[in-house]
Amino acid sequence: MSALTPGFRGHRRTESDRVPPGQYLVEDFPVLSAGPTPSVATDGWTFTVVNETGERTVWDWTEFNRLPHESPTVDIHCVTRWSKLDTSWRGVSVDTLLADVETAADFAVIHSFDGYTTNVPLQDILDGQAWVATGYDGSPLTAEHGGPARFLVPHLYFWKSAKWVSGITLHDEDEPGFWERAGYHDYGDPWLEQRYQSGW
């Protein structure tokens, strides 16, 4: 198995710079789910931001789709050890969603229609680092991948990119989410292999 061409090795070296420790590359897009896939209709769909004083900002599907959209191409890293390079998405930047929201909060919780939650420091989803995505690879996001809309925060393990996203709440204190309460790491940096809560 040593007969690799120099060109192939070079290619691999370039890619491996983009693969965090303990991860392997996949070409397909594995579907992970902690429950039955909810069917979330765009009819009646809303996205809600609630700041730390309880002020709500709500978009329905039509209003959301009128917001300026971006098309990020990013690498994603699942804590179950697969990584996928150059995934292309279409969505609304969290910067756009929070532009008119008054807040001094330090933390955010991302909420899903199925009751899933995940926590992130607010500064990790600002400045072009996170989106609410409604499109993947040139098509509307399918339900199995979190459609009609999922969160996308690619610099953290992919469990932070909540499927079937329904909104963001802002908080003064950190509030661990579904997996973070159950043993997974509070922050989840794939480059530091922050997979699990540390032991006692």
């Binding site: 789910s33 009751g115 997996w179 699990y196």
Partner: protein, 88 residues
């Protein structure tokens, strides 16, 4: 005055909980109150951890996270687990 004893005192009682076959223990869903054996839960494994949901209301009853050297068990979605008394 010492008004408590240490956790070693739990060993006898919890021996009944952490015995091999937990699937026959009866759980009560904290959300809807439905009771049933652990074996009747709906379990999803294609996830970062294992998730068990109530067969009645689909709410999460139990989560299991496993790393190379630890296991975390969360039963926050159960109001109780009932174990038959064991003959000693």
């Amino acid at each position: 005055m010492n008004d408590h004893v240490d956790g070693n005192m739990l060993a006898g009682a919890l021996w009944q909980v952490f015995r091999p076959d937990i699937t026959t223990a009866e759980g009560r869903c904290a959300t809807c109150g439905m009771t049933g054996p652990v074996a009747s839960l709906h379990v999803y494994t294609a996830a970062p951890g294992t998730v068990a949901r109530c067969a009645g209301c689909q709410q999460v009853t139990l989560q299991l996270v496993q790393s190379a050297n630890s296991m975390w068990l969360s039963t926050a979605g159960l109001s109780y687990l009932r174990f038959p008394n064991q003959l000693r």
